[in-house]
Every structure is written in structure tokens, then in C-alpha cells.
Subunit: 157 residues, 2 copies
């Protein structure tokens, strides 16, 4: 299945983010012809930028690549349910489709919390497909935070 392959690339970006000490989330923007236009992992710590989520970096890179602030006909693959910021950016970019992996009860803004796409103030709603390779994303996130807790506990000794 094609969407598995793109999600695999997003998972590879998430893995690379985790290896940099960032929360392991990755995203890929795919063009109307099925070509990868941009991919990114989370870089909030490295860039000292609270907006540098994987989705935001991938959207900005894709817009730069196509020379437009709108990604009509494009799809975004991301390993974790987008937060409210990223969901609103997905709408602003007019992305046609959103595929995401694990649900995010703690910070998600698509299927819970702000439910950004569910309001009249959201002017574009993508087709949303959730749970794509969710287990791989969840496993990576759980391992990352377990290691963080271990590191913090070790640091307190």
C-alpha cells in the first residue's frame, strides 16, 4: 500500500528526530503525482523554536519548493496526530489529505481537544485518515519518553 511507504519515510524522520534528542515525530509532504516534496522531523529544541514541529517544517519546506503558500492536491503524512497549531497550518496550506499514525490524547488537536477542523473558522478541511502504522509510532514515542525518564532518574542520583 502506497500510504504505508510514505508513512515509513515519516517514521524514519521521527527516528532521526529521536536520535537528535527531539520528541520523535516525522512528517512527509507528497505531491499530486506521488512524489515526495518535503520531509522533516521535529526540531524544536535544536532550533529553539516552539513552532518547529515536523508538520510545520515539512509544510514550510514544501511551500518553498513549489513557490506557493498553498499545497493544493498535496498530502501530509505524519507519525502522530497533529496538535492544534499544526492542524490549523494544514488547513491554511490547503493540504488535500492528512494521514496520521498514533492518536495523541495529551496534545492532539484533530480528533480531540480543539478539534480544529470542526469549526466554521477553519476554511479548509482535508480528508483525514488516522491510525496509519500507529503502533510503530507509539512504540517509538514510548521508548523515547521511557529513556528520558531513566536519564532524569539517573541524573538525580
Amino acid at each position: 500500500m502506497v500510504f504505508r511507504s510514505f508513512m515509513d519515510q515519516a517514521l524514519a524522520q521521527a527516528q532521526a528526530a529521536g536520535a537528535r534528542g527531539e520528541v520523535p515525530v516525522g512528517a512527509v509532504v507528497v505531491g499530486p503525482g506521488g512524489e515526495v516534496v518535503a520531509q522533516a522531523g521535529n526540531r524544536t529544541r535544536e532550533l529553539h523554536d516552539p513552532t518547529a514541529h515536523a508538520e510545520m517544517l515539512a509544510i514550510r519546506a514544501a511551500c518553498a519548493a513549489v513557490g506557493s503558500e498553498r499545497l493544493v492536491g498535496h498530502a501530509l503524512y505524519v507519525t502522530l496526530e497533529p496538535c492544534a497549531m499544526c492542524a490549523a497550518a494544514i488547513a491554511a496550506a490547503r493540504l488535500a489529505k492528512l494521514y496520521y499514525g498514533a492518536a495523541d490524547p495529551k496534545s492532539g488537536g484533530v480528533a480531540q481537544g480543539a478539534r480544529v477542523f470542526a469549526h466554521a473558522q477553519c476554511h479548509h478541511v482535508p480528508d483525514v485518515f488516522d491510525g496509519i502504522n500507529a503502533q510503530a509510532s507509539e512504540t517509538m514515542l514510548k521508548a523515547f519518553f521511557a529513556q528520558k525518564r531513566k536519564d532524569n532518574a539517573d541524573g538525580c542520583e
Copy 2:
């Protein structure tokens, strides 16, 4: 009143954005000591970047200036009610206070629509002060869109 002065600077940024052909919205980040840390106007068209709202650019510039992804003790002044993307970025940046001008029934995400700060998935809620110099912001936005409609009508002749 001090907050009027910072909002005046945000309005100047909005005016400059309008002069560049951007929707006239401006933002200023003020540090804990009352110093202006960053200011920006909307640049979505110029940068081909749907995330380049005034608030986002000001937050990113302020984070770069202080070398942190968190703007603890800082305030954001913006001429228009933030959308869901910007509201979530304000929360992520841990801004202490949000002062905004005009309400935005069409695209706002603070007092309407997604109401980003009103959900458990939002991990920081700033003190919010609305309606600061709202009339000046509204007048500028109305004039901008009236001119746009006129330009479009002229272009159809």
C-alpha cells in the same frame, strides 16, 4: 497606558504589512523588563509560507533572540485575535500574557472557533486581554479588504 504603546507598535507593523500587500496584522513580543524583543507583520504572500502570520514570525524571532523555545514572562501584542495556529504557538511558547485588538469572527481561535486555550490538550494558558485599540485594527483591515475588492472589480472591467 503602556499596553497602548506596544499595541501602537503592533499597529505600525500591521500598517507596514498592508503596504506590502499582506493582510494588515502586526505583532510585538515584549520581555519581562518591558523591552521589545521582536516585532513582525504578516508575510504569508511574500514568503510563500502559510505559517508566516505576524504572531508566528514575532514568536520565532523572539525565541531566536533569547535562545530558548520558551518565552516565560513575555507578553505578545497582536492587532487581531489569533487564529488556532497562532494561539497554539502562543501556548507552546509559554507566553505569559496575550493582548489583542480586534475580534476575528471569521478566523479567530481564542474567543471563538477552536478556542484553543479552553481544552486539556493545551498545556499553558496565557492571561488574555482583548479589545486593545480594536477600532484602529478593524479600520485598517476593513480599508485593506475594501481596496482589494475595488482592485479586483477594476481588474474585471
